[in-house]
């Protein structure tokens, strides 16, 4: 069922009585407008399937909320519950949250990616909570035969103020089903928030810290078999021949089957399958180009001069401006491919039988996964269910559904319920990487040090448009040209936390640091001057709000004591992504001749903060992630084969390497924007700029650890 009309008043929210009492509010997520609900009077259980069983209040007072978006550590389950409970004035100790299965009839945007869940859902969730509160309060007033305005809601109870009478929500829930909802239910003023913006602990903490099964890898079904898949070891190769005799003869092995370019070993336990997979003797032949990292470097160099350019933005006349320039600054930056490395390797359960499919596991995009399985197996989507387990990290990797297809196809082939498990090596060498990209920036300065022209040309491997043509410094420079070149590669790529900006921000913020230096200006002051232009007389259309960017810059300069700490090497960076603004100042010290990142100050504007504990950790984690990958992350290739395959040769940041992080939110009450990604992009630039201050060395290539600065002494 799909909403075809955009009528904002249409059936936004409906509610029915639960069998056995209580109140259930159905909530339509596929409405384009977060408008107030209109009442649907019939308490008819038949309507339930058409509406989202989104919020229910049981007779014992338990408030149950279903969270449609996959949870991978962004704390969405707790945040969603907080928003509803805030407007509902619920007793937080009675709020429970569960992961909803895939349901495209009920939910819209049931995915985790793009830092978009909170912006999408914020007003919808508040209105659902407020509507439930209205129903409960009016049910109490009716029961007491008093006017609703003499009643108030607090901590899971309706209170009649004059008499002091109280009724808990559970006792009112059934009666609340008979109350008619008006067209408009008022929402709270943010000054009255008791939950939103507060440091509420993750509702799943207890399950996590006691080891409850909740991840895809933990899912078990009686009768299921285990499978591991050998994929081509190098990009650009295919199967030539298979000798599976030894693997098949290995204990516990049920079968070895080929599908696509894969060989699956199926057995009775994970370890038996792991062992048998090593006994497979598959030879491969070349089917495409066998690319090496050195080839990529040469391709970048060639394409930067001769590639087919896509103009992404053009303002003014850069050539004329460069011809008149007093100074020209030009630099190139490069980043390698990166695997996502979520700690839970890819896995999925599938049971295909009788023209139906049951899928269970960790996915950021259950809907795309189901569509793809439907297409592959020729099973209608309505015959496929997808249950979403908690994700042991995602970082964009689980936006791909290759591993879901593997499980589904295998289950159909072997006619058994099967769990496909990837090893770490499979995970790291299995593709869908952050693309390798090279950027070239050039800037023109006039005699007074004003930036009169700015160009960016990006070349990426399967990166699509590797630029962001609406972002700063766009709007602040009279003459500007942004171009991209996409090079097809055998090496598969995909979204990696803060796609493109995870590296573009580093390159751009490091380059602006170089330009500021050439202009003889303080890097912070230099940006503020540019923003002044973007604010007062913008060049073309902007994708960001210059005044919000200015505010985070001023705040981080203040908090970090920018420029006022003699002897401390500070680096500055600011970036806008996923509709949020994050400015950072990094401090670096030298120890035994090597730069050490000691501290990062971060000031964020993501509008209204939902959960200050989760939000603070999201920024810290983003900075740790951004710094870790800028410092150490590298996946290189030799003849199509990834040269790193596990954490012994692919380095992730560890506890001893993290800097202190000072987190501050402007928390200005504006509509909430994304936070899962925005703190990551600015970090690489802040770190590189601080290292420059400390050492005089510009880091233009990631990983930084490859720079001679970090050579073992």
């Amino acid at each position: 069922m799909t909403e075809t009309t955009k009528n904002p008043r249409r059936d936004f929210l409906k509610r029915i009585a639960l069998t056995g009492g209580g109140l259930m509010l159905g909530f339509k997520w596929d409405s384009a407008f977060a408008e107030m609900p209109r009442v649907f009077d019939a308490a008819d259980p038949a309507i339930v399937p058409a509406f989202n069983s989104y919020l229910s209040i049981a007779s014992d007072g338990t408030v149950q909320i279903f969270s449609p978006n996959p949870e991978l550590g962004q704390n969405i389950m707790t945040s969603f519950a907080q928003i509803v409970a805030e407007e509902l004035d619920a007793d937080w100790t009675k709020v429970k949250v569960s992961q909803a299965p895939l349901d495209t009839d009920k939910f819209q945007r049931q995915l985790t990616g793009g830092s978009g869940a909170i912006p999408h859902s914020y007003m919808r969730l508040r209105k659902a909570g407020a509507s439930a509160r209205y129903l409960l309060l009016n049910a109490a007033a009716k029961q007491w035969n008093v006017t609703p305005d003499t009643c108030t809601a607090e901590n899971g109870e309706i209170i009649h103020k004059p008499s002091g009478k109280k009724l808990p929500y559970g006792e009112l829930a059934t009666a609340a089903s008979d109350i008619t909802l008006p067209d408009d239910v008022p929402l709270k003023d943010r000054k009255d928030f008791k939950l939103i913006g507060k440091p509420i602990r993750n509702l799943k903490n207890k399950d996590i810290i006691t080891g409850k099964p909740m991840y895809g890898l933990d899912f078990y079904r009686e009768g299921m078999v285990y499978a591991m898949v050998q994929r081509p070891p190098a990009f650009g190769t295919k199967i030539k021949s298979i000798d599976a005799a030894a693997a098949k003869a290995s204990p516990g092995i049920i079968d070895v089957v080929q599908f696509q370019e894969n060989v699956a070993v199926i057995g009775q336990s994970t370890w038996q399958v792991m062992k048998a997979k090593k006994l497979l003797n598959v030879s491969y032949e070349t089917s495409g180009t066998l690319e090496s990292s050195a080839d990529h470097d040469a391709i970048f160099t060639d394409l930067m001069e001769n590639g087919k350019v896509q103009v992404q933005r053009k303002d003014g006349d850069v050539e004329a401006a460069f011809a008149k320039a007093a100074k020209r600054i030009k630099s190139e930056y490069q980043c390698p491919f990166l695997p996502h490395s979520p700690l839970e390797p890819m896995n999925f359960f599938a049971h295909v039988q009788d023209g139906k499919a049951e899928l269970v596991g960790p996915t950021q995009t259950p809907q795309s996964a189901r569509q793809a399985v439907s297409k592959l197996l020729n099973i209608p989507q309505e015959n496929i269910t997808v249950d979403i387990t908690r994700l042991g990290g995602g970082f964009g990797r689980r936006l791909k559904y290759d591993y879901v297809l593997e499980a589904a196809e295998l289950s159909q082939l072997i006619k058994k319920p099967v769990k496909v498990i990837w090893s770490r090596e499979d995970d790291m060498t299995g593709g869908s990487y952050r693309p390798a990209v090279r950027y070239r920036f050039e800037a023109a300065l006039d005699a007074s040090g004003n930036m009169t022209a700015f160009t960016l040309r990006g070349v990426g491997m399967n990166a699509g448009n590797c630029t962001r043509p609406g972002n700063f410094p766009v709007g602040s420079v009279e003459n500007l040209l942004i171009e991209s070149i996409d090079q097809k590669s055998e090496i598969t790529t995909g979204a990696w936390r803060a796609p493109i900006t995870n590296f573009l921000a580093f390159a751009e913020q490091t380059f602006l640091d170089e330009v500021a230096e050439a202009a003889g200006k303080d890097p912070v002051q230099f940006r503020l001057e540019l923003l002044e232009r973007a604010k007062t007389n913008p060049v073309g259309k902007l994708g960001y709000e210059p005044d919000r960017m200015e505010e985070v810059i001023r705040e981080v300069a203040e908090r970090s004591g920018w420029g006022k700490k003699p002897g401390v090497s500070q680096g500055f960076s600011v970036y806008f992504s996923h509709a949020s603004y994050v400015a950072q100042v990094c401090e670096v010290e030298k120890k035994d001749g090597q730069p050490v990142v000691k501290k990062v100050y971060a000031v964020s504007d993501c509008g209204q903060v939902i959960n200050s504990s989760g939000a603070s950790q999201m920024v810290k984690g983003g900075i740790v992630d951004g710094m870790g990958h800028a410092m150490y992350g590298k996946l290189s290739f030799d003849a199509g084969r990834p040269e790193q395959n596990n954490f012994n040769n692919y380095r992730l940041i560890r506890m001893k390497e993290i800097p202190d992080v000072d987190v501050f939110f402007l928390d200005n009450g504006k509509e909430p924007t994304g936070l899962g990604e925005p703190a990551l992009p600015p970090t690489g630039g802040a770190v590189a700029n601080a290292i420059y201050k400390a050492t005089g060395q510009r880091l233009r290539q990631q990983p930084f650890a490859d720079h001679p600065l970090f050579a073992e002494g």
Binding site: I209, T270, W271, S341, G392, R654, M655
Partner: protein
């Protein structure tokens, strides 16, 4: 295949597996104790950390045949009601993000506190540096261990 009798979380267990089967997969596949996680399979990430005879071991690389009569403790058996000081501190400090590495982090920290009840920050970092948290919750892991050590 051989029959092994091991003691896990205070209970006697009997499994029939090959002697090179890592303890991790015995726990997960055979004893229905999936709280111990598979992360890398080569002892590099620490997600699979359990205690054998009170010492932290990487169960992904610890064959069942080596367990013998030494008692095994997993995250499920760290405390009766999830109220080990570290578990309480983990909740109080609100450590978990995706949560996948946390059982291994807690088990590593529990072994540390057993032999060194009041570690310095450096000692905490030394003990936990071999445990990867891909979400980057290191600040809070460190804070929670130090918090728990005060109790």
């Amino acid at each position: 295949m051989a029959v092994f009798q091991i003691m896990v979380n205070g209970a006697k267990q009997k499994v029939e597996v090959s002697e090179d089967t890592p303890l991790l997969w015995v726990l997960r596949d055979h004893l229905n104790l999936p709280g111990t996680k598979f992360g890398c399979g080569i002892g590099q990430c620490g997600a699979c950390t359990v205690h054998v005879n009170g010492n932290p071991v990487r169960s992904c690389s610890y064959p069942i045949a080596s367990v013998k009569d030494r008692p095994v403790t997993t995250i499920e058996g760290l405390s009766e009601n999830g109220d080990h000081p570290l578990q309480l501190a983990w909740d109080e400090v609100d450590v978990p993000q995706c949560g996948y590495c946390q059982a291994g982090q807690i088990m590593t920290a529990a072994a540390l506190l057993k032999r060194n009840p009041h570690p310095t920050q450096d000692e905490v970092e030394n003990a936990l540096n071999a445990n990867i948290c891909r979400c980057g919750s290191y600040h809070r892991i460190r804070e929670a261990v130090l918090e728990a050590s005060k109790k």
